[in-house]
């Protein structure tokens, strides 16, 4: 059995390798020259990608179970801690590794002086993500959740010379720490009820039971924590602050992996632990999740269109797409989950390409403000093409992987008897991609009026908000405080006023774009194209999702009680062949056309009244995004209460 022996070593190695790499980076960074550090970190990330890809391929037939130190379950009782690796978790872990690799290559020239700490943090982030994707233990899930979160807080504020990323990091840390606390409380309560921390065993104990108040509260606390991380309305307020201000290579990790992990955790816990509860909670839970997903998708898309700061715009685009993944996963069918999974991968590649493209613009033009960059895209043609292509891929341009995921999702919505979801998805996707296309049109083609597109950008409460370019915001907002503190750091402020963050982060405006910044976004888009052209992607995604969401099979595999191993995967494989059909391609192309139309209307000088009316009608929504951590926590508590009420209705 050489194959079994080697694969059981691969499972823990996929977490151990990045952790050891991080320890080396943190411990010996001072002894190594910069290029050696970069090379070692990239090699470690690539090794992790390889290991997780082996796991993804190896677990395609049946999940791979690994018991730490060989503490296998005895008589159906779990006494150890396990990794339960399926193709979905393996794929998610591979995606994390891929994006970490891209971020490390990119930062080669992005940061002038990335010390070993940056590499160490990124590699710990990767180890935590892989752990989160593979584990079958609820408490281990929590530890991975916190490991990813804490490194993410640090990375958000990394090298910050400006208040915005610091405030983003603080808002992010406070809200997500509260999320961690609710998850841990949920873990504790679930342990109190079931006497186990193993997901499979918890599922076995809860199966067929009528949920009491304790189980409902435990579910609400767990789901609330995961939804905070997934930035679902009304838990989303921290996301634009953190993603909109973090360094670009970090944004890539966040937009592609971080929030998706929250959704992954939610669906994993639901499928393995709660889905067997008596009383058929599925349909009511579906309504709850779909409602949250639609709200997130719509709010994200509307807010994206209202932004003129490119990174913050992309943050809202990310959030809108998170809502779409929640719609797919929230259908609680394996086909919906398959669609969401393929979309997560396809979109992550495109979103990362967009962030990296914006990073090139910031690097070359020292600004990420759409009005300021008008017509200044000349000379950055490759980046312009990258950004337009990325936006079109996000609008599900065939034959990229996103269009395959979209086709599966539409098919799942049809099968669930909810075909109108297709319209919701198409509209939100077109709005959010339209926002990016509008920015590209203004920056590279100089289209649109010279004035800012949404008039309320220029109003009193918004004037100082170009976080990247106007670091003196706090002085405007708080003249007395600035006056008191101005004596010492005054020269620091003048430095900051002409782009302090840029000065600190990298040398000003080199003549050519370095290849290590130009190529990663193109490579990511190419991978998306390659995946989309891979035959059998739908079938394998459907099979992966089917094995992921089958509670009984999962429990039998983990607990070693080989009962019903008949998988439902056969039934769904036949379904998802829509992407190849003419209808599917036409749907995707019309979605792309609508996105282009949105951008055209947003740039057309004649549509100024329409834009003013729209801006006025969404001003209240923008006001809610105050950036105040107190407001964000208030929303979070209200959301938890709402979730507990909805969870009570859905489960009982």
């Amino acid at each position: 059995m050489p194959l079994v022996a080697s694969s059981s070593a691969v499972i823990p190695a996929s977490v151990v390798v990045p952790l050891v790499g991080a320890a080396l980076m943190a411990g010996f960074s001072g002894l190594l020259p910069r290029w050696v550090r970069d090379l070692i970190a990239i090699a470690v990330a690539l090794a992790t990608v390889t290991l997780t890809l082996i796991l993804t391929a190896g677990s395609a037939g049946r999940p791979m179970i690994y018991w730490f130190s060989g503490w296998r379950p005895a008589g159906g009782m779990v006494i150890g801690i396990d990794y339960a690796v399926g193709p979905l978790g393996g794929g998610m872990a591979s995606l994390a590794g891929l994006l970490v690799t891209a971020a490390l290559v990119y930062c080669w020239r992005y940061f002038d002086s990335a010390r070993g700490r940056y590499h160490a943090l990124v590699l710990i982030f990767l180890a935590g993500s892989v752990d989160f994707c593979l584990t079958g233990d609820l408490f281990n899930l929590f530890v991975a959740f916190e490991l990813v979160a804490v490194t993410a807080f640090g990375l958000t504020g990394y090298n910050a010379g400006h208040p915005a990323p610091l405030q983003g990091a603080i808002n992010f840390a406070v809200t997500n720490s509260l999320g961690g606390m609710t998850v841990l409380m949920g873990v504790g309560l679930l342990y109190a009820r079931t006497g186990s921390l193993n997901l499979a065993q918890i599922g076995q104990v809860l199966a067929g039971r009528h949920p009491d108040g304790l189980v409902v509260v435990a579910f609400a606390l767990l789901a609330g924590g995961f939804l905070i991380k997934a930035a679902v309305v009304p838990f989303h307020f921290w996301l634009p602050d953190a993603y909109g201000s973090a360094p670009i290579p970090v944004c890539v990790l966040f937009a592609g992996v971080l929030s998706e992990l929250g959704l992954f955790g939610l669906i994993r816990v639901w499928d393995t632990a709660f889905s067997g509860l008596a009383g058929g909670p599925g349909p009511r839970m579906r309504a709850v999740l779909l409602g949250l997903g639609i709200a997130t998708a719509v709010v994200g898309a509307v807010m994206a269109l209202a932004q003129t700061q490119l990174k913050r715009m992309l943050a809202f685009v990310t959030m809108s797409h998170l809502g779409i993944y929640l719609i797919g996963a929230g259908l609680l069918t394996s086909l919906g989950l398959a669609g969401a999974s393929v979309l997560v991968i396809g979109d992550a590649l495109a979103k990362s390409a967009l962030f990296l493209g914006v990073g090139v613009v910031q690097h070359q033009r020292a600004s990420v403000s759409e009005p300021k960059l008008r017509r200044r895209g000349r000379g950055l043609a490759v980046t312009g093409v990258t950004i337009v292509l990325g936006a079109l891929v996000l609008a599900d341009l065939p034959p990229f992987a996103s269009s395959v995921g979209h086709a599966l999702l539409v098919e799942a919505a049809d099968q669930a008897g909810l075909p109108w979801l297709e319209i919701v998805i198409a509209l939100t996707v077109a709005l959010s991609s339209g926002a990016v296309l509008r920015a590209a049109g203004r920056i590279w083609l100089g289209w649109g009026a010279v004035e800012s597109p949404s008039p309320d950008v220029g109003t009193a409460d918004d004037s100082g908000d170009e976080a990247e370019d106007r670091p003196d915001t706090t002085e405007n907002a708080a003249p007395d405080a600035a006056g008191a503190a101005d004596g010492g750091p005054a020269d620091g402020r003048t430095l900051a006023a002409d782009g302090g963050r840029e000065v600190r982060e990298r040398s000003p405006q080199p003549a050519r774009v370095p290849l290590t910044m130009m190529l990663p976004p193109l490579a990511l888009l190419a991978i998306g194209l390659g995946l989309g052209l891979t035959p059998g992607l739908e079938a394998s995604a459907a099979a992966a999702a089917a094995s992921f969401s089958d509670r009984a099979v999962y429990a039998a595999q983990v607990l070693g009680t080989h009962g019903s191993t008949a998988s439902a995967s056969g039934a769904v494989i036949a379904a998802g062949s829509r992407a190849a059909t003419l209808g599917g391609v036409l749907t995707d192309l019309s979605q792309v056309a609508v996105a282009l139309g949105v951008a055209a209307v947003a740039l057309d000088r004649r549509a100024i009244r329409l834009r003013r009316a729209l801006a006025a009608s969404t001003r209240w929504l923008r006001r809610l995004h105050s950036g105040l951590v107190g407001d964000q926590v208030s929303w979070l508590v209200a959301g938890l209460a709402l979730l507990a009420a909805l969870g009570g209705v859905a489960l009982r």
Partner: protein, 115 residues
């Protein structure tokens, strides 16, 4: 006794969150977050508690030691304490940076990411 302990959990969590929401000073805010976190630890210990149970140390026990409290929950609480320390340290470091860059600790005045 048990009801009192759960009451303490609820009280600490809510008072901590109230402090976070109403805080006008970032250092105060971070400490309030730790207060909310301590509610989690007490909840875990309470879940693992057994009336009359001894500490989960199984060396040098008397002949009939009786029941022990649940060691698993204590391990969870310990892990949470470590995470809490890391988060608090990180947040305080960020707060120091905020004070350096923005010259204020009041979240209402530090509005760099407002929409």
């Amino acid at each position: 006794m048990s009801a009192l302990a759960y009451g303490v959990v609820g009280w600490l969590f809510l008072i901590g969150i109230y402090g976070v929401v109403s805080s006008r000073n970032l250092i105060h805010l971070v400490v309030c977050l730790s207060v909310a976190q301590s509610a989690t630890d007490i909840l875990l210990l309470e879940i693992g508690y057994r009336a009359g149970g001894h500490a989960p140390v199984f060396v040098g026990l008397p002949a009939h030691p009786g029941p022990a409290v649940d060691a698993v929950m204590q391990a969870l609480a310990l892990t949470d304490v470590v995470i809490g320390a890391a988060v608090t340290a990180l947040l305080l470091a960020l707060v120091v940076q905020v004070h350096k860059r923005a010259g204020t600790l009041d979240p209402d005045r530090l509005r760099a990411t407002r929409d």
